[in-house]
Symmetry: C2
Subunit: 279 residues, 2 copies
């Protein structure tokens, strides 16, 4: 496995692979890889001849006062994980490589990005769409892999790919959880012991709603009340949002019919965590 | 030469060419092709194995009250011109093929698009960047050809390609003029006989400034005054803007040193025409 820091090196490597007729999968990450990321890389390795993992904490998707500086980094561990999983290349650019000093372009959309995380993180998805467009253009993969943990991101990327005609298949992969149900996240590392225990309430609250759904409940208001009630019982938890939306449009629904996303963002102490279920 | 209306047909054709190891050039146009477009196609044919000409009057780059509806169209003549010039494929999509009903993504930039034509056409370059990104993703050409007549567009596309890492070489081609110096434009067809005569003032005013420059004048204010004076002498001409800017950043300059763009937009009657010189 190679680790490269420049766009030119990635292009040269991919060109070589293409000349050999090999297929290429891309797993875009911000590093500090956990088993969730590993499941994406595993799937990419199974479905492509060569897999590129990008490790880049993208400044453009962090707002003022967010955790850009403190976001955890560990390239040594990340490299080992990628190598063991069978990735062929890590692209690990410095911010200057991705954003030269006159950089001013962006990719954004008028729907899907305003609600859910977009409400408290207004520039977040602009940053995500822009960096993912750049990575798509640099790597030009056949397929790219995103976790369903970031459900809104997955929906936004799928929409962008369709709108802008990227010739890339987007593969969404299921959430990977800790033994007690907490969704794996690089940000779990921010939690102290007490908060870590409390954080299990995210998954539990969604499970409570899913149980109701499986018993026939179809009212979004009832499901959402169940989630809020469960969250309210945990003193360390402060909900940012609890939303039940259409999985394609991310618009709120009243009655659950087709594919619906139950998504929550919850502060556990100072750490903002997200989790979701697709019904 | 083939004419196709769907994205899928373009992709299939380009894939076939790529499998044969052929290079592909793209000439994006809004149709109603004239000798300016022909010069782009000629150059593309000379430099690539296969050339795709897109003919699409892009609704997204027209503002309210602009000439989207009246913009001239003539596919029969366009096809003949492309075929004679040696193009291999015309991509002529309907608006619904390019913008499905849930379309909401866009590509834009924070610099280069605010001044010059962007001042009176605030959404224009967002539409241009978006449709050109789509065309780049659909055709995935090696090179794409743009006329220097739309100088700001050329600068914007070059900046976008650099920022977003499109692996495409942008080739700018010189302005083609009528015998009396009027820059070729599909919009010249809007002019009546009297206006057509008056329209020559655009080129003449730029020539006056260029003459001064060639005699050693380096003050942007002096050159711009010379342009305005010449335009003021033509009763049918009403300047929209007269600007002297850096050719890379499109920011106004005071003293002419490096590569500088003198750009003007002038109403001749109701028709807005543009012209420019790069010094």
């Amino acid at each position: 496995m190679k680790i490269v820091e420049t766009i030119a090196e990635v292009r040269a490597q991919v060109k070589e692979w293409r000349a050999q007729g090999l297929s290429v999968g891309l797993v875009p990450t911000m590093g500090y890889l956990h088993e969730g990321h590993k499941s994406l890389i595993d799937r990419a390795v199974a479905e492509n001849d060569k897999v590129v993992v990008s490790v880049f904490v993208n400044p453009m998707q962090f707002g003022v006062g967010e955790d850009l500086e403190s976001y955890p980094r560990d390239m040594e561990r990340d490299s080992a994980l990628c190598e063991n999983a069978g990735a062929a290349l890590i692209f690990h650019p410095q911010p200057e490589e991705m954003y030269h000093k006159d950089f001013s372009s962006f990719v954004d959309m008028n729907t899907l990005t305003k609600g859910l995380c977009g409400k408290t993180r207004p520039i977040h998805f602009r940053g995500v769409c822009t960096v993912v467009s750049k990575l798509f253009n640099i790597v030009q993969p056949d397929k790219a892999y995103f976790g369903q943990k970031d459900a809104q991101q997955l929906a936004v990327i799928r929409h962008m790919v369709s709108d802008l005609n990227f010739g890339i298949e987007i593969v969404g992969c299921p959430i990977v959880r800790e033994a007690d149900g907490l969704a794996k996240s690089s940000r779990n590392t921010y939690l102290n012991e007490q908060e870590r225990k409390a954080a299990v309430v995210l998954n539990q609250s969604l499970q409570a709603a899913q149980d109701l759904y499986e018993n026939g409940e179809r009212s979004a208001a009832v499901l959402s009340a169940a989630i809020r009630e469960k969250l309210a019982a945990e003193p360390l938890a402060k909900p940012d949002y609890v939303e039940i939306v259409d999985w394609n449009t991310l618009e709120p629904v009243e009655t659950i019919q087709d594919s619906v996303l139950m998504a929550i963002a919850v502060y556990i102490g100072k750490t903002r965590l997200i989790d979701n279920r697709i019904l």
